[in-house]
């Protein structure tokens, strides 16, 4: 059962590899860590690749969430502090990875019907230069991936 769940998770991540392109910004490898309890919070992770001049992710929106914010994690001794940020900078011709334990799109109060395993959550990302990009984020199977497969290995 667990193996099956892992296989489904891996399949979902495989589908997530299809990139979303708009202007110079490419979004790839997206996945949503869904809330464990109904109506809880989730986090969306993905890689932003910038083929153009410096840009910034300035907003995210999802109809299935009560509120959406850009977040980062600050490690303060053994305390993890999650904080809202106004933007996430994407350097010219650069790449930024939103990943567990770091930057993420925080989705508050997700509609349980929108985050069933196998679903894809519509998410609009707004960049200062490139404008709005619509993506569909595959909902990962819980327990969610610890890090994206192959990203850093199992350190």
């Amino acid at each position: 059962m667990k193996r099956f769940a892992v296989a489904v998770g891996a399949l979902a991540l495989g589908l997530a590899a299809l990139p979303a392109l708009a202007a110079d910004i490419e979004i790839s490898g997206s996945f949503l860590r869904p809330p464990v309890v109904d109506g809880g919070n989730g986090a969306a992770f993905f890689t932003i690749t910038n083929h153009g001049p410096a840009d910034r992710l300035i907003a995210a929106a999802a109809p299935a969430a009560r509120a959406v914010e850009l977040h980062t994690h600050l490690r303060d001794g053994d305390v993890m502090r999650m904080r809202k940020v106004d933007s996430i900078a994407v350097p010219e011709q650069g790449r930024v990875e939103l990943k567990p334990g770091g930057d993420h799109v925080m989705l508050f109060g997700l509609d349980p019907a929108a985050v069933v395993p196998g679903a894809r959550l519509p998410l609009t990302l707004t960049f200062e230069q490139a404008g709005a990009i619509q993506i569909e984020v595959p909902v990962a199977t819980l327990p969610g991936p610890i890090s994206k497969p192959g990203a850093h290995g199992d350190q």
Binding site: P35, V36, D38, G40, N41, E69, V79, M82, H104
Partner: protein
């Protein structure tokens, strides 16, 4: 003269025995000893708690004596750190040999007792591993446990009153079969690494 000395020694001995009996049987004194034990139990180096598990049953740390307790603090609305840690923990438990796993009680204690009722805790911990015990309680109960374990947490207001998040310590606390604090473990990102650390720690 000698007789008197023997009599006096006998009297002193009898008085001493009587005093020992009085001391041992005195409810007042045993209560004081009891308080002394209780004081030790509430020091930061003891893993004491009195909470409610995910089935609604009242439990305390003494219920788990004889096994190691692996205690983690968090909240069910936590989007990243808690699920990551519990995923690593569940993976580590899967990798332990059954004899080692049987020595460990993994326990998740909520820092958000307002939202995390026993029913919510049941839904939460069962998503990760059937072995994990989920504990909640009143705000006072949770405050006591936080103090015992020296856990830091603070509520961070969100865009609506119920959209708050919680900053919190993200370590695992290992408590020995005697109820005494043994070590803190950084769960890291590797189930294999945590399984190895746990196997070494509970030998």
């Amino acid at each position: 003269m000698i007789n008197n000395t023997v009599k006096a020694a006998g009297l002193v001995a009898a008085l001493a025995i009587a005093l020992i009996l009085v001391v041992a049987l005195s409810p007042g004194l045993s209560e004081r000893i009891g308080q002394g034990v209780a004081l030790v139990a509430s020091s930061p180096f003891e893993g004491g708690f009195a909470l409610t598990d995910q089935t609604g049953k009242p439990v305390n740390d003494r219920d788990y004596r004889g096994r190691f307790m692996l205690v983690f603090f968090g909240y069910t609305f936590c989007p990243d750190v808690c699920p990551t840690t519990l995923t690593v923990l569940a993976g580590a438990l899967d990798r332990l040999d059954p004899a080692t796993a049987a020595k460990i009680v993994p326990i998740f204690v909520t820092l958000d007792p307002e939202r995390d009722t026993p029913a919510v805790m049941r839904q939460y911990v069962s998503a990760f591993s059937p072995a994990i015990v989920g504990l909640t309680g009143s705000s006072d109960d949770i405050a006591k446990v936080k103090k015992n374990y020296r856990v830091y947490s603070v509520k961070v207001e969100g865009s609506a009153p119920d959209l708050y998040t919680i900053d919190h310590s993200a370590l695992l606390y290992l408590i020995g079969p005697d109820g005494r604090f043994r070590a803190t473990l950084d769960p890291g990102h590797s189930a294999e690494g945590l399984a190895l650390a746990l196997t070494r720690s509970v030998q």
